[in-house]
Symmetry: C2
Subunit: 708 residues, 2 copies
């Protein structure tokens, strides 16, 4: 009605609608062409059963391997960090009495820098995508955006070694985020039954060599990673769903859960051997919050407003230091080493000038208590926070006796650690942001609890503070609640943690996006959010689609196809197939056309090689996922005159929407279907709506064409 | 390819494709007609915000009220059952010494029968749909099948009173299943801001008066019910998702979680007041499994095969007694009373002949220890199991000292309780099946643990047995695992419980469907399962659609519309709207046409009442959900000659699929979109595929028509 009053927006050229050329979307739609349907028909009931069973086997393997990797990281960090702290502790003890603690400081700083250097070098020079936690990349992948190199074997190796170096090097980082990325890489590798990097093909799981299946396994891998990192299998499942799912697929969810369970189980089993308690499977994931006993720290109704207030505090201040302009690998390594040295220096200074001495209890949980200038039988409380792996510091903030830390210690620690964490974030090292957030939150939460001083246990406030800080930074609500509940092993805190996370999210969203979203935006990833952007409310399909549509005929000249694919101004990844006059009969992907050209499936040649085997799905699967570019396909001048019959290969039942469909609804309603299937080049036109609309609209247009 | 070789199946008349005429599907698709789009356009950003906030408010209310109802049921059962057991206990104690225990037996049996009679009368005479647990009905509703009367206020009242009577009456039933149904009814009521039964309209939440929104709230209500019943908010969310979701909608999931949290919180808060521990929010839901301390009962690797073996045992034996041929209300009441009396008699006999005496510890958990013929300071162990509410019995089986029950007691209890539960299931009383299943499973699990006797704690095996039995009966995997984990308050058992539930499901599915599915099948509900039935693999859209399609013109004669709606042989609930020549331009629902006819929105009349207000969405919302049948609309002979313009009211962008689409894929891929939106009469054609295919195919046909 009002449409006719408002002027139609001008046609925008295709390339200007692109947010970035670097990213493709996953082909999440099954290509239901004749080859596929024939295969499905040939497959017996037992065949389907076997497929289903092998999916479970793959998920089991994913869980197992992810658990193993988590175990390896954990043990490596424990051993190396233990060794480092032991050396530094002995050195400090030696020089405390004779004087000359500056030597200890230098030892500490040099040790840190050296270890971090190794981690930074492998990341900066060998695989820059392994920097950071990897969660934004996995989030994109789960949402249907293909980030180059993100699920490769090399990335995994660099990530694992890198994160060990970062944590052992004493940076303000955690090893949990990288675990999630590692799980995803394991899943992408195992499910394909081959490694393209190692050029090994085990000839198994060939059926799974397509984006649909692979993405499903990657979500299981990410869940297994969360599960291993936090000992939270349910949290892992919800993480995968919250970050990635459009559909609820029951069988898939069960498999994800299975992978998560196996992952926790594997980790626990091997850690129980490592800790000489073989077979005791009750220990939790990489980060152990310790048990909160419900009796001792139950909360009361009047505390809830306090908790909510704390939630409002925890916001994504990290952003301050986020943007970073060091791009040359050498400088990145130098910077990482500098941060490592500064971290050691600051920690040392803080410990040195602190005079918060606490008696060394008989059941002390401190692994490396530093006596320093305290009386015998006492230890330096600031050192518990700084001279320790961050995981241990979190645990001691949660569980130590109420008077363990004095408020000054907590305040100073919060401030310094906060600035260190901000500086560290964005360095070219593999590093998670969960643990620093938890640690900062736990510190100010405990401070808050101490200042209130009316209630018995500041550990409770440390937990709420940690939740608030983490929630403010990563903005996950559902999965984070469950992760926290599972990691604390106590459902009692479910409601307050949820309220805190909700508040943190609402208040945080008011000011600035979550850290991961900022990260995604800075990289210009065409990421489709849950809610359609406000500007898309009045847009219809007609207004956003590319036009004229680049179509192919069902029987098309090879030359035309090559030209279409080579044309850089219309670099679509999928093309509607039409029969004259302009009637849509299918959809074919760039990758399919490339395989066809490579195998020279031309009508003319077909006669001369009648005895040759027909092109099969296997040929497409073998080429997956690294299809060659069109430039590498050689087509002679004679061949250009041949014809190609696309009938067998095109998807005859693509999705279409009428051209008057509002994009808002196209996104809302079709999200499950269209949200992740676009074989088109990603696109955006001022809105943050990504890859999927063009798909809808090119179709739409074609569809509209057919109804003149 | 092979299509042309196989003969086309003959056309099946529309009515023969129907599984049942009793059920309609929910209109899960938004009706994107001009009225709706105009409303959306008029609505400001703040308007959308307010809507979103009111959704949260509604979910909070749902959680609160569900928690209150759970609290009411719990307290009522506690008080009434306490009174009953006290009376009987005193009577037994009196007659144990003087002889004449038969008087006690009669007292017990009469009390039980009288209480059960009340419950059976209200169910059988006032609202038969309130019988049973209500979970199958809610499962259907969440899957898009509208079961008549299932979410009405009257059903709620009868359900709540009924379940109190059943539990207090000593039947082998639980109060947890009905809680889920209650939560769903609360949600359906609160979200509409009015009660059609009470004829009260609060004029709020009018926007939510359509199936889409209502179903979303009902899923929150069901989750809140689970949450209240088991103290398992995450389990509640997963229950709703596992049983109902097709889409993963992030905001909706958060709201469901919020409702669940509030529900647990409310229940805990009021129960803490009732138990004189005001403000202590740490107590769990209606059923309290008690805490399993991880240290005492950790499991070992070699126990896992044992657990899996136990999973294979727990199957749905209930089925034996399931089919029931008592249909007259009077007889139903008599039968319920008989079962109540027999239950009391059997329990009494078992207790009487048992000689399993146990010392009465100082910290005994038994509420009503019966001394009977035991020595002073001892109590009858059989009585702990029988002379108690089932919830307490479960708890004592989980947690009592290893030697509390001797194997004979456990064996006899398992057998008798099993037969009682089977007989009880299907009675015309409100009653859940969770608790009896748990109780039977816990009993044989504990027996199993005692017989192994090598390990310390048979309570652990009781838990695994309970999981196996429950899993074998209800066949939920993911949500049940989480519910069990949350109810035990211990994540350690996650993996074994999951393995047990998976085994129970796989072994169970091999023999017979789950109890709820059997229930649904017996009622001929056209329920769409997750996986497409095997027979649908080769069916295409063309083969299953109704033809010829009953279409309406965009400007249609009133007489034609009335005739179409009155025609019982084509009782569709939605009609494609076409413009000549046979071009699809929209879709209109029966309910919309009825409202239009009622308001006499005829082209000719429009001129004469130019000043009158236009028909608005509000008129449709006011009529929702009980649209009158076509027979009650009076249309005069003159009016039959008028014309109706459907342009404004039809959905101009309905979903369509090409007619060659395989139904298998239509189901797989489109499930989220088409799975629950069908405005058509439900349909089936030999397969169990339900309501949705016709929608697809009638469209398809029309769509196909337009491409001649």
């Amino acid at each position: 009605m009002q449409d006719s009053l408002r002027g139609r927006p001008k046609e925008i050229p295709h390339n200007e609608k692109l947010l970035s050329l670097k990213f493709e979307s996953l082909d999440y739609d099954n290509i239901e062409n004749q080859l596929f349907l024939e295969e499905e028909r040939r497959m017996s009931y037992m065949g389907f059963r076997c497929l289903e069973i092998s999916r479970w086997v793959v998920c089991g393997l994913i869980g197992f391997l992810t658990g193993l990797i988590a175990c390896f990281i954990d043990i490596a960090v424990e051993e190396l960090a233990g060794f480092k702290y032991q050396v530094v502790k002995e050195n400090i003890e030696k020089f405390t009495e004779v004087g000359g603690l500056s030597i200890s400081l230098i030892l500490w700083a040099v040790l840190n820098s050296a270890i971090v250097m190794i981690g930074a070098i492998i990341v900066a020079f060998f695989e820059p995508i392994a920097a950071g936690s990897g969660i934004p990349q996995i989030k994109c992948y789960l949402n249907g955006v293909k980030i180059p190199r993100v699920v490769r074997l090399k990335t995994l190796v660099v990530k694992v070694c890198g994160v060990i170096c970062s944590v052992v090097g004493g940076l303000a980082v955690g090893k949990e985020g990288p675990m999630i990325h590692s799980g995803a890489v394991v899943a992408a590798g195992v499910s394909q039954g081959r490694s393209t990097s190692l050029k090994r093909d085990f000839k198994i799981f060939e059926y799974f060599r397509r984006d649909t299946e692979k993405r499903d396994f990657v979500s299981a891998g990410a869940a297994a990673g969360v599960s291993a990192a936090f000992g939270a299998p349910v949290g892992g499942v919800l993480f995968s769903l919250e970050e990635g799912a459009s559909f609820w697929n029951q069988m898939l969810t069960w498999r994800i859960f299975f992978a998560s369970m196996i992952s926790t189980f594997t980790l626990n089993f091997f850690l129980s051997i490592y800790h000489n308690k073989t077979g005791d499977l009750s220990s939790p994931g990489l980060i152990n919050f310790g048990r909160f006993e419900s009796d001792s720290v139950a909360y009361n109704l009047y505390e809830i407003p306090l908790f909510i207030a704390m939630g409002a505090i925890g916001k994504s201040y990290f952003i301050l230091f986020f943007t970073r302009y060091v791009h040359r690998p050498c400088l990145q390594v130098m910077e990482a080493m500098l941060v490592a040295a500064v971290t050691a220096t600051v920690s040392f200074t803080m410990i040195y000038f602190s005079n918060d001495c606490q008696p060394l209890g008989p059941e002390h949980t401190e692994e490396y208590p530093l006596q320093l200038f305290c009386a015998d039988g006492e230890y330096n409380s600031m050192a518990t926070a700084f001279f320790n792996t961050p995981e241990r510091s979190v645990r001691s903030l949660f569980h130590n006796q109420p008077d363990t830390y004095n408020p000054l210690t907590l305040g100073l620690f919060t401030l310094t650690y906060f600035f260190l964490a901000c500086w560290t974030y964005g360095l070219a090292v593999s590093a998670g942001v969960f643990i620093p957030s938890l640690l900062i939150g736990a510190a100010w939460g405990r401070l808050f609890g101490r200042l209130l001083a009316i209630w018995a246990d500041p550990g409770k406030y440390a937990l709420i503070g940690a939740a608030a800080q983490l929630g403010g930074i990563v903005r996950m609500t559902l999965s984070l609640t469950v992760i926290m509940v599972e990691a604390t092993g106590n459902v009692t805190y479910g409601l307050p943690i949820m309220l805190v996370l909700m508040t943190a999210k609402i208040v945080g969203d008011y000011f600035v996006e979550g850290l991961y979203d900022i990260h995604i935006k800075l990289q210009s990833v065409p990421f489709l959010h849950w809610e359609a952007p406000a500007t898309s409310h009045w847009l219809t399909a007609r207004e956003v689609m590319s036009s004229p549509v680049t179509c192919l005929n069902r029987i098309e000249k090879v030359g035309t196809i090559v030209d279409t694919l080579s044309n850089t101004s219309t670099n679509h990844n999928g093309f509607p197939v039409v029969v004259q006059p302009a009637k849509l009969c299918g959809l074919i992907l760039r990758s399919q056309l490339i395989v066809l050209l490579k195998h020279k499936v031309f009508v003319e040649l077909a006669r001369s090689r009648l005895t040759q085997r027909k092109l099969q799905l296997k040929d497409f699967r073998d080429a997956y996922p690294r299809f060659p570019p069109i430039q590498s396909i050689h087509v002679s001048q004679d061949e250009r005159e041949c014809m190609m019959d696309l009938t067998e290969f095109m998807n005859a039942t693509p999705y279409t929407v009428p051209q008057v469909t509002q994009t808002q609804f196209a996104e809302d309603d079709f999200f499950g279907v269209l949200g992740q299937i676009s074989p088109w080049q990603t696109w955006t036109g001022g809105t943050s709506a990504g890859s999927d609309i063009v798909h809808t609209h090119t179709h739409t247009h074609t569809h509209a064409d057919t109804n003149p």
